[in-house]
Symmetry: D2
Subunit: 276 residues, 4 copies
C-alpha cells in the first residue's frame, strides 16, 4: 500500500510591481518589484488520495491574495510582507500548519523622480516560514557577480595522478555570491540589516588576500555576523566562475596575468555555513 | 567568535560525452552524454579558517577524475558511474566523510548507426551519496513536459473573498514532471528500473481522470512503487503549466475548450512524497 | 533635423494552444501550440513624430486577433495561418503596407488519445510576409540538435602562427540545425513539404562523410531542393557544438576517440544559402 | 543543379577577460570583459562544394587570434579592437572579402582598486565590418532595462471588434532598450561617444511625457543624433515589458495606479530608425 509521506503545494513566481506615489509635491514615486513564491503545508491528504479538494486553497487564490495584500498593506520590507502573507494563510485556515513565503526583490536604481534602471541580475531574497508557533526569517541575496583581478592564490592542495592544476599565487577570483542569513527574530529594520550584510561581504571580498575561495567565504560570513547582531548563522555559496589563463605560449606569446578565457562550465562550487 | 558549522565543496557541470565503438562489423556506436556534479564533505576546516589547503582535493582534479574514470570504466548506468566516482574520492581520502555525485544524462535518439538526435530537454538523473558506511541511491528524471487536453477538472476547493477561479470540470493539464525515487539499494538493472518508472508515470498521466494535480501526482508515485520493487519512496514535483481559456467572449466569440493562452508565470507548484 | 527612416512595430510571443476535439467516437484530440510574432509596416509616422496614434493598430489588438482567428479558422498549417493573419491586417488597414507574421510551432508527440509529450527544443517555423501585391513564404525549423560520432574530419585548412588546431580525420560533429527555405509560392501541402525537407536533412547528416561542416551544410541544402520542388532557396546555419577530446594524456591515459569534453562556447558558426 | 548563393562562417562567443595592471604604485587594475563574434565572407566555395578546406581559416584559429591580439594590442575601445581584428583577417587573406566582428562588452563597476561588480545584463556593443575598401562601424547597447511609473499614456488608437484595450493616460512604461547607431567613420573617442549616446537616451526616457512608445523611441533617437555628431543614423528597438493593472476590482479593491502584474509575454515590440 502506498501512503503520502509528505506534501506541499503553492504558487510560484507571482510577479508584482508596486508604485508608491508620494504626495510630496515633487511628484516622486517609489518602485518595488517582487517575485513571490508561496508553499503551504497542512492537512491536504484528501486531495492527493481521492481528489477531494475541500481543504485546498487554490493556488490562483494565493496569487490574488498577493495582489490584494500588496494593495492593502504598506510594504516596509520583503521580510515583513512575507510574514504578513504567511500569517494570512495560517490564520484563516486551521488545517494549514505552515506557510513558507519566499520573495525576491529586483534592484531598481533611481534615474529620475519617476524613472528607474533595473538591468541587474542581483536580487534581494527572503524566506519566511510562518507556523502557529513561530516565525523563522532567513534573508539574503543572489546573483551578485564580483571579480577581483589579484590578491587571490591557490597552493598547497592535494596532488594525485589526476591533478594537473598548477599552484598559483596570483589568479582572477570571480564568483556569483548567494548568501542566506538566518535571523534570531524579525529584525527591527530589515532593510538596514540587508544593506549592512551586503556591504560587509563586498568589503571583505574586495580587500581580502585570498588563499582559497573557502577562506574568503568564511571571512565574508564572519563579517556578516559582526555587523548584524540579529543574524545567528549565514550560509554562503560561491561558484568559482573560472577565468583561465589563455594558452599564449602556444601562440608564441607570454602570459603575464593579463589575458584570460572566460568560462561558464565546469565550475567549482564552494559553500559553508558560519555561526556564532 | 564565528565558527564553521557546515561546509562542502566540489565541481559542478562537468560535461562529458562518451562514445562506445562496437567492434561488431556494422560500425554501430553508442553515445552517452553526462553532466556530473561532485560535492565532498569532510575535514576541510583548515582551508576555510586559515587558507591551508593541505586537505583540499582541487575541484580541477575532480573534473579530471571524471574524464579519467569515464575512460577507464564501462559505464553501465549513471547510477553505477556515480557510485564509482564517489567511492574513488572516499577511498583515497580518509578525511572525506562522504561524496555526493549527481549526474544528469541527456537523451539522444538514434537516427543512424553513428548518428543521434538530442533536442529533448528531458534528462535522466541520479544522486548517489557514498560514505564509509553506505551508498544511498536516488534516481529520477527532470524536464519531462506533458499535457493532456481533457480528463482534468478542479472543483470543490475553498473559496474566500480573494477567490475568483471558477470551478471547471474540463481543463488542460500541462506540467513538467520532476521525479526522484529512492532505492533501498543499488538496483540490479538501473536502466530497466528507470524505463519502468518513467513508463508507469506516463501511462498514469495519459489515462488518469484527474480531479486535482495532487491526485494525479499521488497516482503517478503509486505507480512507480508498483512497477519497481527496489523503490522505497518517490518524490514528484509538478508545476502547473497553465493554459488559460482565451477571453473569447470579449471578442464576440464563444470558448468551447479550444483556444487557450499559454503562460509561463505565475504557476502552481505541487509536490508530494509517496512511500510504501 | 532628425527624420524617421524606417519603422515597424507589433506583438511578439503571442502564445496560443489550440485543441481540436474530433467527434469520431474515440474521443481523440489534436493539439497545436504556437508562438506568434506580428510586425506591421506602414504609415505610422504620426505616432513616432507627435504621439498621434490614430493610425496605430494596438499590439493588444493584434494579440486578440491571434486568439480570435485561432478560434474561427481551421489551422491546416502554420504557413496558412500566418498568411491569414497577415491578410487580416493588410486588408483592413489601407495604410498598412505589409505584415510579417512569424510563427513557431512546438513539437508534441502523442502518448494517448488526449495526451502528449512536448519536451523537445525543436520548433517548426515560418515567416510569411503579406503585402498588397504578394505573399512571400519562408519556412524552416530551429533547435534541432544532432550529433554524429564519426564520419567527420577536418584537414587541409590554412595555418599561421596562431593555428594550434590539429588536423583530424575522425571527430564528433554536433550541431543545432537552423534551416529556412523560401518557397516560390505557398506550397499545396506545407506540412508534407516540411516533413520531406526535415527528413532529407537528417538523412544527409546521418549518412554523409563530412570533410567540413561547410560541405555537410551544402549537401543538406541540396537535399532539401531535391525533395521539395516548391523550394527555391534554403539557408542553413549550423553552429559547431564542439566536443573536444579530453586531455587524457596528461592523466596517463590514451585518447581513442572515446572521451570528449562537451563545450558550449566559443563555437564555430557556419552558414550558407543554396539555390537552384 | 544546386548552387551556393551565399556563405559565411566564423567563431561566436569567444569570451576574453583582460586585466591591465597599472604601474602607478597604487596597484590599481583595469578590467575588460568581451564576447567576440567573427564572421568572414570570401571565396570559401570549395569547402562547401567539395570539402576542400585550403581556403579555410579555422574557426579555432580565429579564437586564438582574439587571445593573441588581446595580448599584443592596447584595447582603447571595443570599436578599435573590432577593427583591428577584422583588418588582421582581411589583410592576411586575399580571398577574404570582408570580416564582420561583433563585440559585446560586459559592464563592471569598480568596488576597489582591483575588485569589480558585474551583475548587470546591459552590454555595450559594436559591429565593425572591414572590407578592402572601407570600415563600417555600428555601435550601441543592449539589455538596458528601464521603467517609468508615470508620464506615459496611450490613447486615440484604432479600434475594431477585437480591440479590448482601454485608453489610458497614466500607465507604467517599461522596456529593455536595444540601440545601434551607425557612425559616418570611426569616432575619435568611441568611449566618450558611447557614454554621451547612452546618457542622452536615459535622459529622454526619464523626462519625456510619452504619448506612445513610438514617440519616446523617436525622441531618444533624435537625442543621440544631437549629442554625437559622428552618428548618421540610430536604430532603436524597445519591447514593451508590460506591467498590467492588477484586477483589484474582482477582489473588492480599487486600482489606483499602484499594483501591477509584471508579465514577460506576449510583449509589444517597437522599432524605428532615426536619421539626420
Amino acid at each position: 500500500m502506498a501512503k503520502l509521506a509528505h506534501n506541499a503545494y503553492g504558487k510560484s513566481d507571482v510577479r508584482v510591481t508596486k508604485v508608491v506615489r508620494h504626495g510630496d509635491g515633487g511628484g516622486r514615486h517609489d518602485l518595488l518589484e517582487l517575485s513571490v513564491n508561496i508553499q503551504l503545508e497542512g492537512a491536504f491528504e484528501k486531495s492527493y488520495l481521492s481528489g477531494d479538494n475541500s481543504q485546498i486553497v487554490a493556488t490562483d487564490t494565493m496569487k490574488n491574495t498577493v495582489y490584494a495584500l500588496a494593495k492593502k498593506l504598506t510594504i516596509e520590507s520583503i521580510e515583513g510582507f512575507a510574514r504578513d502573507l504567511g500569517r494570512h494563510f495560517v490564520e484563516r485556515n486551521s488545517h494549514v500548519t505552515s506557510a513558507v513565503v519566499a520573495i525576491e526583490e529586483h534592484r531598481w536604481n533611481r534615474i529620475g523622480a519617476v524613472a528607474f534602471e533595473g538591468s541587474s541580475r542581483e536580487v534581494r531574497t527572503t524566506v519566511v516560514k510562518t507556523s502557529r508557533k513561530c516565525v523563522e526569517v532567513t534573508s539574503g541575496l543572489d546573483g551578485l557577480l564580483v571579480l577581483k583581478t589579484t590578491d587571490s592564490g591557490f597552493v598547497g592542495f592535494l596532488r594525485d595522478e589526476y591533478t594537473t592544476l598548477p599552484e598559483v599565487t596570483d589568479r582572477i577570483f570571480a564568483t556569483v555570491v548567494k548568501a542566506e542569513w538566518r535571523y534570531t527574530q524579525m529584525p527591527a529594520d530589515a532593510n538596514a540589516a540587508h544593506a549592512k550584510a551586503r556591504g560587509a561581504m563586498l568589503e571583505v571580498f574586495a580587500g581580502h588576500k585570498s588563499l582559497a575561495v573557502q577562506q574568503t567565504l568564511f571571512a565574508m560570513g564572519e563579517a556578516v555576523l559582526k555587523v548584524v547582531p540579529e543574524v545567528e548563522a549565514v550560509t554562503i555559496t560561491m561558484p568559482n566562475k573560472h577565468r583561465i589563463p589563455a594558452n599564449l605560449k602556444a601562440l608564441g606569446l607570454e602570459f603575464e596575468g593579463d589575458v584570460f578565457v572566460t568560462t561558464e562550465e565546469p565550475f567549482g562550487e564552494i559553500s559553508g555555513t558560519v555561526e556564532r
